[in-house]
Subunit: 459 residues, 2 copies
């Protein structure tokens, strides 16, 4: 028998990890619910046709396809062989695989909205927390199965929505206690304005793609790439100068001087969103700041308005963005429902987990399940111990009895290894006196008390 | 563009359904944690070799396999074509699909225990709530993606564990408020004793398989099947007589009279488990009962000791078991770790959901997210409304503002349709007086009050 293993890029989650993730997801869920977002879930498998062509050529390649069942039916053999030849040529063929695993939560959400449009009340605020799968090459911090957590508002153009999503980011990272959160904000309309400014409106995608790499390749790299993409040095100079402006008014004046209406509109949207956000802001948020950043581009092509990205600037953290999003004007158009504007943000659950783990931000209390374990010394003591166990659980104290009557030291070592804070010792003396002896590992004490006293001590 | 859809046998979950499922899972999770069970999660994809051969021939056929990626690499074409030919013959070949979707939680748990045996403290109590996938023919109440929820204790032979799992069942169905719960209990050792009693020890599997169909085919059907499986009429008479005994002592005497030690041992295990269970029992459990039932067989071959199955006997419910489990002595042996006994039970989440839905047992409160929505009348009123919104959220009241300034009636209708209990109306008068007008849909009232008064009213 070969040693069992899990597929490359996947992992088992131990109790400690599950509990920490649960804490993270519950914190977010509570905030989403307080802000009126509603949960939905979509199937892990989608029709392959729903997903293909939505994530670019690279994305298509990374989608996990599910082999059709019943292929051993002889009537299907010819079709299946032909389908395989298509797949070997890099094409898709539903005769071999007609289903695929969810690649993100955005496309399934767009499909959901279109399919359920008659039962949805718009504007529709939804959140969704589910795993996604990508056949990426596994590496540190990158898995083939990982969780996404999105919240979106569709069916409203109001910039209050943008403000609400900024609220959610700041409230979430405040609750999670993550330091030095920078929420960078820009607008696709501003980037479009910049393209118009240097007479390169038709090269907006080239410009965005190049700027998007700024963090990775630096200014020199962006300049080189812009040149390679056919922009002349005057245009490149303008782009670099404009994206490095840090004041809304300054860039607004630049746009106004050249009558670039889209750019002016983008600046106004940013101003209004931030004004709304200020009205909702909580004074205690001292761990995060909003930063206008015209160098922020975000790669995804479906954004049309404000875009946002979140980083943790703590010097101990070397990591890309831990969240991002923006406004898109026609996502559901992919599935036939036109003119439905939406705005959404995403939380990078696995990266946020890693940041919190590295900075030791998970509360110690969540790692422990069982609070008290009763040592089992058998016979009448066991019967009395069962009563005590029942009494503890009746007070909602997570408690266990060691199920087997084995050596005292073995049981004590087990309790210690599991980091259970209290061992409850019941031997003849305790049973006859109808009390218990409690070993408190943290305090290093061993004290006799009544069950009621113990309950009072730890509830 | 074709109309979007989801794969057959899968479904989108609406906010109401997600919230109800969340309530169900959280109720179970809380009980598991109180009883000292620890959560684990395993990957959705397992190596195909981990799953194949564990669920019988029928099970193998229903496993969803995941197509390998990178098949367009010309170097792999020959191997892939050869692999397809194997698959067309009903075999598996890792050159076409080396991964598969989780089929249940039991085999992944066994694999987990073996892989992590050096970091686990035994006895190990774990619970796991995750989706599984089966390529079954979809029908009412049967999906291709559905959730399982298991709790198991491995590494202990103590019958306290059996008692603990009975406790969990009864406590869970008590908390969920499901009426007329029957927890049927039997032992594989008793069934083995019955086989020995009629000199058919080597036909135990035939006997169990036939008895297992009792609910479906009736006594006559079982008799017929036992005959077909080669048991003579005297043997069949004995079997039918013995499994219809309802008293432990009566069957014990039958076994003792023929010196069938395994049968006697099985009866003793049942008695001891029930005695332990009585010690833990809560007096308020009046919705459930434990019933000894020697006709209970359970199909799965890995059980070796006590077996259990849960039904809802409410006359409005037409449904099979909503939970089941038992003791297995060698599950991890499949992956090379011998002699590790375990016992576990499973909750049929989707069926329990359906029962609760049919009997209207979900608390009304959980269906509603947002408690109050503020009507947006624009301009200065909007700015004041944002302050009110901030104040409500500060008191953890789930609240929203209608994001767009549209007609009053349209906003009111939206609030009504979403079943949000309170509409908060802010027009010029309320703003200048720094108060709010609250429409209470349930009471049919509209009352002016301060924000503080409103908060006090609904917190």
């Amino acid at each position: 028998m070969s040693k069992p293993s899990v597929p490359q890029g996947t992992r088992d989650l131990s109790p400690e990890v599950v509990r920490k993730r649960q804490y993270l997801l519950t914190t977010l869920r509570t905030i989403f619910e307080e802000c009126g977002f509603q949960p939905i879930e979509t199937p892990s498998m989608e029709n392959l046709s729903t997903l293909m062509g939505k994530y670019g050529e690279e994305g298509d390649r990374l989608i996990f396809k599910v082999l059709n069942n019943g292929l051993n039916d002889p009537n299907k053999h010819a079709k299946t062989r032909a389908a395989l030849e298509n797949v070997l040529q890099g094409k898709n063929d539903s005769n071999l695989a007609e289903r695929a695993l969810r690649y993100d939560l955005t496309i399934p959400f767009a499909r959901y909205v279109v399919m359920h449009q008659n039962e949805i009340n718009f504007p529709f605020r939804r959140y969704q927390m589910q795993p996604v799968w990508r056949a990426d090459r596994p590496q540190k911090g990158r898995y083939r199965e990982f969780w996404q957590c999105d919240c979106d508002i569709v069916g409203s153009n109001s910039l209050i929505n943008e403000a609400e999503l900024l609220y959610i980011y700041r409230e979430a990272f405040f609750q999670l206690n993550i330091p030095k959160i920078i929420v960078r904000v820009n607008s696709r309309k501003v980037l479009s304005g910049i393209a118009q400014y240097c007479n390169a409106a038709n090269q907006l995608v080239d410009i965005t793609t190049a700027i998007d790499k700024l963090d990775k390749i630096g200014v020199e790299g962006v300049i080189k790439e812009l040149n390679e993409r056919g922009l002349n040095s005057e245009q490149v100079n303008d782009i670099i100068r404009l994206i490095n402006i840090t004041e809304l008014d300054v860039l607004e004046n630049e746009f106004a001087s050249k009558q670039i209406n889209e750019g002016v509109a983008g600046i106004k949207e940013l101003k209004d969103s931030l004004a709304y956000h200020s009205a909702l802001r909580k004074t205690e948020w001292n761990n995060s700041e909003i930063k206008i950043d015209f160098t922020l581009a975000r790669g995804l092509s479906y954004y049309t308005g404000i875009i946002v990205e979140v980083n943790c600037a703590d010097e101990r953290i070397q990591m890309g963005s831990i969240g991002g999003g923006g406004r898109y004007d026609d996502l559901t158009g992919l599935f036939g429902l036109k003119n439905l504007s939406g705005v959404g943000v995403s939380f990078g659950i696995d990266r946020i987990y890693d940041v919190m783990e590295q900075l030791e931000l998970f509360p110690a209390a969540i790692a422990v399940g069982t609070k008290a374990m009763i040592i089992n010394t058998g016979n009448e003591n066991e019967a009395y111990a069962m009563q005590v166990l029942q009494e503890l659980r009746r007070h909602h104290i997570a408690a266990e009895i060691y199920p087997d009557v084995v050596k005292f030291d073995k049981q004590m070592k087990y309790i210690f290894n599991r980091a259970i804070p209290f061992a409850v010792i019941i031997e003849d003396e305790e049973r006859t006196q109808q009390n218990i002896r409690v070993k408190d590992f943290a305090a290093g004490t061993q004290v006799k008390m009544s069950v009621a006293e113990f309950i009072q001590k730890i509830v």
